[in-house]
Symmetry: C2
Subunit: 257 residues, 2 copies
């Protein structure tokens, strides 16, 4: 059974403020909870229907520290953020990762400036997972990575890709003496990405959905890229969606390796 | 002023059934209505705040057939499908396009099998627009292209890309004697798209979000493609989001031209 206090608590952590206070977030549905259990994340509590509990006995028995609470379909509806609640909801502790310039220098990473749509952020985490990009840096003003819609849209990739919340100035000042390290960004006046030389390592900067890369970041970018439309110069949309553009850029980097 | 009947009518066409009965759909916000007015679509009525009407006098004067109705911000809220209504809502007639095998054979097209998420369909229409793909074929079971969320997510690309609602069997039977024409699809067991030869023309089939390409379509596909993850064989997400995968496939076709 679910106490009123527990319902109140779970509903409170739908908001970033309370997720930060309690240093936790929640994960919903069979597939995602499955990935969560097998991930390095600390799972605190599981709320599930009797059906799920019966089907997953072996799994939960292997992790005796996880408290499993049986709840009814109706109770699940009261705490779920999904239109169609799916058997199980788990509460986990947020992960905070350390990074060092040295390690980042030998990898390909993504930096998102003030990304605002949770669906886009989730999709980009999934893209990073697919293309073996271990680290995503998000500016402080970005949508919270532990927003339930981000977690859902990441389809479990959030348990593998390391996300960092950063202060832009600190981040770039770390790299200012690394002359050989490339910071890439997409611009309408950039060079054709298909023919431009691309390093194996670097940081790919993607700007906000409406405003693109801001003037405060531009000076740090030493390789400006452009995804050409087809036919060149034809009448078309003003831009591509940010997750779509990120996918094309990452694909182009990985194709060359 | 907005009559009760008009409010009822506009709210009714948020549903596919009534959009079909009245053969219309609606478009919201300054940017999209602007693109609509300059497109080949027939605009029936515009409902806008006095602000919008004053700012767009020159535009609407050039199209005297369009009825422009002044409404208040409060009235706009009653008919809008947006969280933050944006000055203007226009009602337009749905477009139906003809196609012939001959024309399709000399182009690159996209076929979507039972795509269900309106955000994904809108994003794919935008991708097609960017990459000069004139025609998108959607199976009958797909989400309606004139769904308000599809229109919104297409960011105006829906006014340029031709979308066709098709019966699968009819579509493929048209192509059965065209031996040289390629039907492409993405599969986990497909060939690496980066090294596979790709024609300039063909149909790219993308499957449903959850189920991929169905067994009934597989026999028609003569080029199976795969977007390799990185590093090859690394632990990663099961798949990419459908709009993201479509973007990478289209980018790869257009890169080669």
């Amino acid at each position: 059974m679910l106490s009123k206090n527990k319902i109140k608590f779970i509903n409170s952590i739908k908001k970033k403020k309370y997720r930060e206070i309690h240093n936790c977030f929640f994960v919903e549905g069979e597939k995602l909870v499955d990935e969560l259990i097998y991930s390095d994340f600390q799972v605190n509590e599981i709320f599930a229907t009797s059906n799920w509990i019966n089907d997953n006995q072996i799994k939960t028995d292997s992790y005796p520290d996880i408290e499993v609470n049986e709840i009814s379909e109706n109770e699940l509806k009261k705490i779920s953020s999904l239109t169609t609640p799916n058997k199980v909801l788990a509460i986990a502790t947020q992960a905070f990762y350390e990074y060092s310039i040295n390690k980042i220098q030998s990898k390909l990473s993504i930096l998102l400036e003030n990304i605002s749509d949770p669906g886009n952020l989730g999709a980009i985490i999934r893209i990073a997972d697919w293309f073996g990009i271990e680290n995503i840096f998000c500016t402080n003003e970005s949508v919270d990575v532990y927003n339930p819609k981000v977690v859902q849209a990441s389809m479990g990739a959030i348990f593998r890709v390391k996300t960092h919340c950063i202060e832009l100035k600190d981040f770039f000042s770390d790299f200012k003496d690394q002359k050989d390290f490339n910071i890439y960004g997409t611009f309408l006046e950039g060079n054709n990405i298909y023919s431009e030389s691309l390093d194996k390592n670097g940081v790919i900067v993607m700007g906000n959905e409406s405003h693109g890369i801001s003037d405060s970041i531009k000076p740090y970018i030493n390789k400006k890229l452009f995804i050409p439309n087809y036919p060149n110069g034809g009448k078309t949309s003003e831009s591509l969606n940010i997750s779509v553009a990120t996918a094309i850029v990452c694909s182009e980097f990985r194709r060359r390796v």
